[in-house]
Symmetry: D2
């Protein structure tokens, strides 16, 4: 669907990094839902550039609602929000339009769009577009919350510094605490190590990647479908829409490929009235359908491709080898700002799944 | 889309393990393509149960074409093939219909379908349904081959036994060799170790999982889209339709989250007339679009949930804890038979991507 | 979507007139619904060739269920039924494969499929494929009936012989009576006139068309959407999938274009607890959404293009003018057999609309 | 799809009549196409309110491009344009929010959206939203024109005043002439009669409807598909997204239901190198696929439901009968302004059909 996604709950994302505006239309929202703009803004802030360790590009990044909200509530018609681009410095980019920055989409976009794409700042490929996902996700998450469902993320790793993983049970307190943080961790003591890792890479004109772990709690059993409308398919199909994501795994994920069936199988047990599992290696999903345990997945982010180091590459117009050095404003690590984006993508996917009878 | 998938090239899969038949409709194929039924059958054979280490359930598994083929060529109308279920032993399953086999969809299907699903042999959730994917994929792969594109897979790992990975360059010889094998490996010496691993698990009433690595070669640069119609999204959305898949990664994947940008970025270089990259950590995809290098991904398979060991679980109707032991015919490892399924899924995804102008 | 249709309730139709079989997959049905096969068969009979005035080609046309039904109830997995082609006389068609029969898709199919389509008996374009719609519609209609909704059709006109129109109120008795008839009319006295019209055309080696009027009763207000998921869009998008349909109109339809707003507007009124309208010129739909009145539409069928009269046309391979005379077995009027097809299409469309939250 | 439409070429429409803005995203456009903004504006002008016979509400209605255009050319990324709402007089509407205006979606929207819809000026149901279609259609039509395809419309009828119909051949001159006119007619002498008809209705506090006829010329044979992706299905599914449309017919349409097969069948003939038909009763479509002749269809518009006459209706909140009189600014006839909207819808549908390989 290109820049549109979803079945019953659909999003349509538009905009280019240095164009007039970026924005998103969310179609299929229930009517009459009172939006909490503070929650939306809080999420937008988490993704916003300008943190100590992030890109110095500063923008208000405040979404302007164009439609779909009346007297503070959703109308049921498409909700569109735009973020106007104000603080753009296109000149940084203009000279290098035929140099393929390694790890970037410059060359692939050139081929696909026959050279007509807006290359400034990555154009439609820019990580800036994820602000649209964050907006849409914040709206969807509110609706989920009103149904007793919530989503939380934490930074599972940056480079080789690892946070703990979600446990089998995830408390509301943990979910709240993670949602309040702009550097969400289960083990807060890892923050300094992670920040050091990022700072070290930056000082060496380099960058680091990492992993975001996400949990959806409060979902009843029975959501999803076998085959192609399963929870895993849905989440994967939107999460790979986030730039820099190169892998996704549910529950034990790639780890499951290394253990025995007797270790990986989650034993069911009766807990009062509820059916639970003793472990959650399946990530809350069996046969594409939720089993009532938290849905847990991890998304792997590659290190920021924009680095200040010299790199060998090509001028794809002249077809000759060149040496390049990426200038401009870039994060040495996108993972911290990616956390709210993954949360948003999960919220959108889950609300779409729940929008089917 | 539940059991339908695709945009311009669509598949619709139907059937239950112990019902009348399973089958698949492929809609959107080009007309006039002469089908090579030997190639189709060769792929079907690779997935077929009955190998030395696989389930003793034997079936012909030969697809019968109902439509879409005339005088040996595709007609352009939907191509439907069915595989009739002959050798079913439903009695094995009938007594345990309310016992949730750990790691299976028994409980989640019960909740979703209100107890009306055909539970025999896993019903629509059965791995048997992947025969439909293999058929459809074999058809799609032929069309890709006629365009100079091919797909190859190998068993990257079983339990902790690892095969080598695809190199940066993948030769036609390697692709051919892998496609001829029913136990495809880059380093053939690993076969015995892997078979031993499977046999050991089986002897201990247990099972093992593994990883399949897949490469699509011959793709031009410029295929795919940013955001939600990217190559990664497309492939992930169909690969998670294969039962037991719990993770997918492209290129370096989760490994990219651990290295520096300067290590992960693939340097571009001019090779004669072509633009290539020195490494292929991006798995041939930048910004959702192919860069002309092989598209490489890995899918993680959990160990077969059906094990002969005693397991604690619940009777979800009586809501009480019980002990169960899975009887019936099961593979101690699905990974070998999953190899052609992953190849098929990739072929279908790529042909769909190429079906858009 | 080619031969697939729908969003939450999807159908996938396959088959060619003289191939192995035709069939349909219905995906997204609720689980546990007990199917009434007599009702299905009754509808199949109405569409079946072989009536006094219809084509002499006789077929059992009995659908064989391949999947999705277990112990007489829907399983929630895709329901597939096939009808094997038995009584085919391909030789009638074989010699004329490059002569464009006027009014047929011979030439357009040749161009689109590059000559590879199965031309025998119209292939995938054959009216025979509507048996698949009738099957799927009969399943959907049962589910609608269990929710207090039903669909009825009558032959509004054949050539210039007109039946009455549905009134503002449509009683359950009228619905039942129409559903029991294989020549459904509001004014039964028109049957003889219509049959005479058909017989006259046949005797003159010619054919006639007509109009089917359809009503969906029992729908609550609030079903549908503005813009592109409206009730009109949905119904039109499936009804134009019936061969020979060249027009569709809702409520007063084209008649509305000729009257004043004061005549066309339906006055609302309170009737006990219910809100109704005094007239139903809008066909039960305002802004794409049901208003609680019967949804009423009419579909125009062109006269059967296959006529025994000599016609001028071309050989599109040799590119020369020729004279042709269509031989083979053909109805002088498809309208009577089209009645259950329109009913089926409406039932499928409405169930899809109701499958969204 | 609610307010999104399309497969390979997609549009997403948002906005409410009295909200911040209305707008449209067009996704899937080819990159590098130089946009002719004069052509876009010319079409916008034709739809714009404020003509002598149209609503006195005046707006600039000038679309602002937010994304998808760089240096005057399409970038291949989603093209979004918004039209800010400036001259809104909400007070006209505010008092009557629970009175169902006959012929309007007030009541159906209230039920569907549980009273939360933005009722001001019809909200998302307003005819004003068709400006978005006109914009998107003007973009698509330019691309069609660059491929030798064009679209033309004329007012086939207003009330009982009829224009001529398109002939079998439609010249480029006729297409150009119709596209230059803001009151497009084949027989210009009918304009005065039509205007009188509208003026008479207005003077009597009433309104009139009419029919728009549309032709797509220059299409090659072989575009479209049988069943559900046919040219008729595609066009119908978008045209019913235009408010007030209650019917659509292709070629002879409902007229075909009244004639004999021998009259309706279009004889093929060789004309130089081309295959043509002598008549065009099929509207250029056989089996859902173009035959190379102009695609011709007509859409029926009901009379404007907003009339100044007193009407009986209900207060759907209080559930009581009331008398209402619609105040505010309304056209006595939407048909003239609907002409560019139908043209736009056709252009979008055709470009989507052509975007598939």
């Amino acid at each position: 669907m290109s820049s549109m996604w979803g079945k019953n709950l659909k999003i349509s994302i538009f905009g280019e990094s240095h164009g007039e505006a970026i924005g998103v239309t969310v179609d299929g929202l229930q009517a009459g839902f009172p939006l909490d703009f503070d929650l939306i803004n809080a999420e937008m802030q988490k993704r916003k550039p300008g943190g100590k360790l992030a890109t110095p590009r500063k923008e208000d990044d405040m979404p302007v609602i164009l439609s779909g909200v009346f007297e503070g509530k959703t109308t049921g018609a498409p909700l569109t929000a735009v973020i106007y681009n104000k603080n753009t410095k296109s000149s940084d980019y203009e000279k290098m339009s035929h140099i393929a920055r390694p790890g970037h989409a410059d060359y692939t976009a050139f081929v696909k769009y026959n050279g007509a794409n807006d290359y400034r700042g990555g154009g439609h490929f820019s990580g800036r577009l994820t602000a649209c996902l964050v907006f849409a996700g914040a709206v969807c998450r509110q609706i989920l919350k009103s149904q007793g469902i919530d989503v939380a993320v934490h930074i599972k790793s940056i480079s080789n510094v690892e946070d703990e993983s979600f446990g089998v049970e995830i408390t509301n307190e943990q979910v709240s605490r993670l949602n309040e943080s702009c550097f969400p961790l289960i083990d807060q003591s890892k923050r300094e190590l992670m920040e050091n890792e990022i700072a070290l890479a930056a000082s060496q004109k380099d960058s680091v990647g990492g992993v975001i772990e996400c949990a959806v709690v409060g979902l009843p059993a029975g959501v999803g479908s076998p085959m192609f409308d399963g929870v895993e398919n849905k989440i994967a199909s939107i999460v790979f829409g986030i730039p820099a994501v190169k892998g996704i795994e549910f529950g034990l994920g790639f780890g499951a490929a290394k253990v025995r069936g007797s270790q990986n199988n989650d034993e069911f047990l009766i807990d009062g009235e509820k059916i639970k599992t003793k472990t959650n290696n399946c990530g809350g999903i069996l046969g594409g359908i939720t089993n009532g345990m938290p849905v847990v997945f991890r998304a792997a982010f590659k290190p920021t491709p924009s680095i200040a180091k010299q790199q060998n590459t090509v001028d794809f117009l002249k077809k000759e080898n060149v040496v390049t050095q990426v200038v401009g404003r870039h994060d040495p690590c996108v993972v911290v700002r990616a956390a709210p984006v993954v949360k948003a993508a999960a919220a959108i996917a889950i609300l779409d799944l729940l929008s089917e009878k």
